[in-house]
Structures are given as C-alpha cells and as structure tokens.
C-alpha cells in the first residue's frame, strides 16, 4: 500500500519543460546580453583610442612645447595651460551664473510652487534644457556679446570668454535646477513639518532645513554643472573666438581657447595638412584624454554624492 502510494506519478521529465522553449529563452537572453556588451565595447574603444593616440602624441611632441607661450598647434606650440585656463575661466563664469539661477529655480519649484504651478513651470526648465548648445552659441555671440559683454568690457571684438561663459551658464542652469530639485523633493515632508512645528517660516525652512538635508544632491548638481561646463563645446567654439589658437590669457573680455574649442578648431581648420602641423590631429586626442579624465573624475565624485542622498532616506 505504501509503495503504491509513493510511486511517483510524475517524473522528472514532466518538469523539464520543452527544450525548444528553453533554447529560445537562452537565445533571447544572449541577444540582450550582447546589446549590453556594446556599452562595454564603446567604453573600451573610447579609452583605448584616447590613451593610444594621446601616448602617440606625447611620444612625438617636444615636451617643451607643452609649456610654452600659448596654444598654437599649427605652429607647433601646445601650451596645455592656455586651454585649461580658458576652460576654467569659462566654466567659472558659467557657474557664477548658473548656481543662483539653478538653485533658485529648484527651491522655488520644490518648496514654493503648488503642484499645479510646478507642473506648469517645470516645462520652462525642460525646454531650456532641450535647446541645442549650438543655438546658445549663436545667442551668446549675437545677443549676449553686444548687449552685455561688449559694454562691460568696453571692447569692440564680439568674441570673448565672457560671452561664452554666460552662454555656458545658461546651458547648465537647467541641469543644476533639475538635479537639485530632485534632491530637495526627496527630503521627507516630516522634516519640513517639524520645522514648521517650531514656528519656522517657509524661508528658514527652505534654507536651513531642506537645503542642508538635500546638500549631497545639491553638491552633486553643482559638480555635474562644472563637468558639463568643462565639456561644453559649441557655445565656446562660436562665442569665445580664437579660432586659430590663443596665447595664454585669463581675461574674460578677451577671446580665448578652451580644450573643447581647440578640438573643433583643429577639425574645422580649412586645411588639415599645413606645414608643421602634422602633430595637430594627434594633439586632439591628447586634449580629449585630458578632458575625459577631468569629467570622469567629476562625474564619479558627483555620483558618490547622489548615492549618499539615496542612502539618507
């Protein structure tokens, strides 16, 4: 009796499922894995290309030319300090513009605007974020330069790092606003209520409770802004001038050269094969590697801050 009862009326084969179905599932899974691997491939290609060709450049260039009077690649001068300084000046101007605008907009949207108004106003930020940088470059040179920078500097050249910097500031404002707003939105309501419970007003609650609680996210937003500013190309290429190259300067009223604009300038130069410029194209990759490493470091730091926000709540 016991034997009959325990006799399996089901066997392992019944639970094996159809081999065809299992093979199909494995195939589909492999296809998706392959798609995912493409992103690894792209990463690897970027790193290999940049490192390989940058090394090639360094091995061929006269190292003394890396620290010279300026960035004049067609003449064989590759002063890194010039383009790094240009990048930093323009990014700094951009941040001075974008930090108050971005954070102000973020605090307003997160703390003051009613849900309805928030819904109506947020698209402004999103539309601004959607404007291509080439268009803001045009705006910088056609509107900002004559209307703001030229009167301030008393200069008559429309090209200036100042105009480019303001353009970059406009470009990164929506980025800062949206990342910071996300962080503030994530601050629990209970914290605000506790603050109101103590009789604090909205302003002190926003500035002394919400902003500090969201500080990681806000810092992450600012770092991302810097990273974006450093990597911004078109605004600078159009508005900062110095197409052929530049001597070292940090004066925002003057034209200047950034790492990114140096690259487009080389690529759009009317004649790629000028005499003495055989290092011009390899130098692109050297600058590119520098830019890649700077933005990568910034992005990694900002990601750490963002993760802290997530862990906090």
């Amino acid at each position: 009796m016991t034997g009959a009862q325990l006799a399996p009326r089901l066997s392992l084969t019944d639970l094996r499922g159809s081999p065809g179905r299992r093979r199909r599932e494995t195939l589909i899974r492999s296809l998706f894995l392959a798609a995912a691997a493409v992103s690894l491939l792209i990463s690897a290609l970027i790193v290999l290309t940049l490192v390989g060709r940058a090394l090639d450049f360094v091995s061929r260039v006269d190292l003394a030319d890396l620290l010279s009077v300026g960035w004049l690649p067609r003449r064989g001068y590759f002063d890194i300090a010039t383009i790094v300084a240009g990048t930093l000046v323009i990014t700094a101007i951009g941040m001075v513009i974008a930090t108050p605008l971005g954070l102000g907009a973020a605090i307003y949207l997160s703390e003051y605007a009613s849900p309805r108004r928030r819904r109506a106003l947020k698209p402004i930020i999103e539309l601004l974020a959607g404007i291509p940088s080439v268009v803001l470059g045009f705006y910088a040179i056609a509107v900002l330069a004559p209307a703001i920078v030229q009167p301030l500097c008393g200069s008559n050249s429309i090209f200036s790092m100042g105009a480019a910097g303001i353009g970059v500031g406009i470009l990164i404002t929506p980025l800062i606003a949206s990342v910071a707003e996300d962080a503030m939105h994530a601050v629990p309501m209970s914290l605000r209520e506790a603050s109101y419970g103590l009789g604090a007003r909205k302003r002190s609650t926003s500035l002394r409770v919400v902003l500090p609680a969201a500080v990681s996210g806000v810092v992450a937003a600012l770092i991302l802004g810097v990273s974006r500013g450093i990597g911004e190309t078109m605004v600078v290429s159009i508005a900062a001038g110095a197409v052929g190259g530049s001597v070292f300067t940090v004066n925002p009223c003057l034209p200047g050269q950034t790492m990114t604009a140096a690259m487009t300038a080389l690529a759009t130069g009317s004649d790629q094969a000028q005499i003495g410029a055989e290092l011009a194209v390899p130098s692109l990759f050297f600058v590119g590697l520098l830019l890649f490493l700077m933005t990568l470091a910034l992005n990694l730091v900002s990601e750490r801050f963002v993760r802290r926000v997530r862990r906090g709540y």
Binding site: M1, A4, Q5, L6, A7, P8, R9, L10, S11, L12, D14, L15, R16, G17, R21, R22
Partner: protein, 301 residues
C-alpha cells in the same frame, strides 16, 4: 486501499457548473459544515503532493525558514498560519519556485512534488509554475482587459484558437464565481473591478492554466468580509479539483476554511520553523504545543 492516480491537470468538467451563489453573511459554524474529510494526521493521509524534508530558505545570508519537514495532501485546503515575519510567504513561494525570482534567494533540504525533486537542476521553473498556480496578497490583475487577464496563461501554455480560449476564459471565470459579474464587460480593464472582484479574477487567471495546486498568499487581506466569504466559498468549491495551500493571518479563516493547518513561529535567530501541523480541528481545539495554543487562542502574535 489503493489510491487512484489522479490526473495532474484535470481536463474534465469544462465548462464547469455555474457556481454563482448567494453570499451568506452568517458565518458557518466552525468545523460543522465540513463534509467528508475527517483525516487525522496519524492516519493515512490522502495522497502526498508536496513533501518537504529539512527545508530551509535563505535571503542572502539570512535564513528566513529553518529545517521544515512536512507533507501536504492532495485535494484539500492546507492553511499556513503564524506571526508576521515567520516565513509563511517564503515557504509558500518555495512550492512553485517563485523565490527564484528574488536576487540572492536560495534553499536547502528537499521539496518533492509528486515524488519529483522540485529543485533538481533539470527542472524548469516555468513548467513548475504552470502546474502550481499562485494568487497573491494584493490583487494584481494585469492592466489589460478581463479577457486578456484570463487568456494570457493558456495562451503562453500554447492554447491557440479563439474558440478554445473563449471556452477556457468562460469556464475559468465561472469557476471563480465571477462570470455573471463580468460577462458583459470582458473587454473592460481588469484593474477597473472592485478589490474582491479583482481577486476572484486573479483566481480565475490562476485556474485557467489547469493547475494541480493553487497557492494563495493572504488572498483576502485586502478584502471586506463579504468578499472574503465569497473567496472562502470558492476555495471550498475548488478543492474538489485542486490542492490548495493558503497563508492567512485570519484565525477564523484558517479554522473555517481549511482541512489541515501548519503553524510556524520563529526562534531567536528570526528563522521561522514548524511548530505543529495537523488537521485544522485538532490544531484549533486540541493543540499539541503550548506555542500553538497561545497563538490560536489569540494570546500571542
């Protein structure tokens, strides 16, 4: 006596009888309306569907369920009760390998299903879940039409042809006692039904693939008393053809609606373990263990 081998997937009785009934508000007196089975644990149980031997389940390094050995009989309702966090859901989800979907979840010991090791490497969890269906705590119809909700299971199991599908949909909805309420709006969204209707739709969805076992994880916790009673009546109908395992926090429900009761609790290591298993009548009226007695009489948990 020899027990006839039942078919795993009952293919008869379709379309089923119209089980539409009135809702009876008066709660059935405990135990009395139970018809046939009066199995005692010591006596020969019907037929063993699941057999667990030293079964443990882990989430990462945390052991949620510890060394459980038990048998679950066919065509009856087994309820799993116990305080929160004792691993009832974990145990239930082990029966159809739903835990496989959770990152870091693993098991040890053995679980056999009709004598076959459920966790053998050759076993395809998809095949397992076609035989062992599940109804979840929160009604979770697909955000699609009522028809699609029920037809999806048979369709992925290979049923083709509108006529066949129509038939299965109707009979499943009938068996789940919801046909009359939805027959005019099969194209309506499943998510637009009331909570109790949604849960019955989920039951219809589960039985549409002709499973052998139905697992239910607190199927009534989101429902009002009337909807709860309807589901219990439905379970009572369904156990003619299916083996049902239900996790519940509701003592009365376990007492009213189940044949067998499994009581879990947890030790200091927070791992759930089996305290007592037996016929429901016995567990509730004459528990063998002090912990069980405290729990079922409401002194604990």
């Amino acid at each position: 006596m020899t027990i006839q081998a039942p078919e795993i997937a009952p293919s008869d009785a379709r379309p089923g009888p119209d089980v539409q009934r009135e809702v009876r508000i008066d709660i059935r007196p405990m135990m009395q309306t139970k018809p046939d089975v009066q199995p005692t644990h010591a006596a020969e149980p019907a037929e063993v569907v699941f057999k667990l031997t030293y079964f443990s389940a882990w989430y990462g390094t945390f052991r949620a369920v510890k060394e459980i050995s038990l048998d679950i009989g066919a065509r009856r309702i087994t309820s799993i009760i116990g305080p929160s966090g004792t691993g009832k859901s974990t145990l239930l989800r082990a029966f159809n390998r739903m835990n496989d979907l959770i990152e870091g979840a693993r098991v040890s010991g053995t679980v056999t299903y009709h004598g076959v090791d459920l966790y053998a490497p050759e076993v395809d969890p998809v095949e397992v879940r076609r035989r062992i269906g599940m109804v979840f705590q929160k009604p979770n119809p697909f955000p699609k039409t009522i028809y699609e909700n029920v037809a999806f299971g048979p369709r992925v199991a290979g049923v083709r042809g509108k006529k066949n599908l129509d038939e299965i949909v109707e009979s499943s909805l009938r068996r789940a006692a919801i046909w009359d309420e939805v027959k005019d709006k099969l194209d309506g969204l499943g998510t637009a039904l009331s909570g109790g209707q949604q849960q019955r739709l989920c039951i219809a969805r589960a039985i549409a693939v002709s499973p052998d076992v139905i697992l239910m994880d607190e199927p009534c916790s989101a429902l009002d008393p009337i909807a709860t009673l309807r589901i219990e009546e439905l379970m009572w109908e369904l156990k003619q053809n299916y083996t049902i395992i239900i996790v519940t926090h509701n003592m009365q429900q376990a007492a009213r609606a189940s044949d067998e009761t499994v009581f879990l609790t947890m030790g200091d290591d927070r791992a759930g373990y089996l305290v007592e298993q037996g016929p429901t009548a016995q567990v509730f009226t004459n528990p063998q263990n002090r912990l069980t007695e405290d729990y079922v009489s409401g002194r604990f948990g």
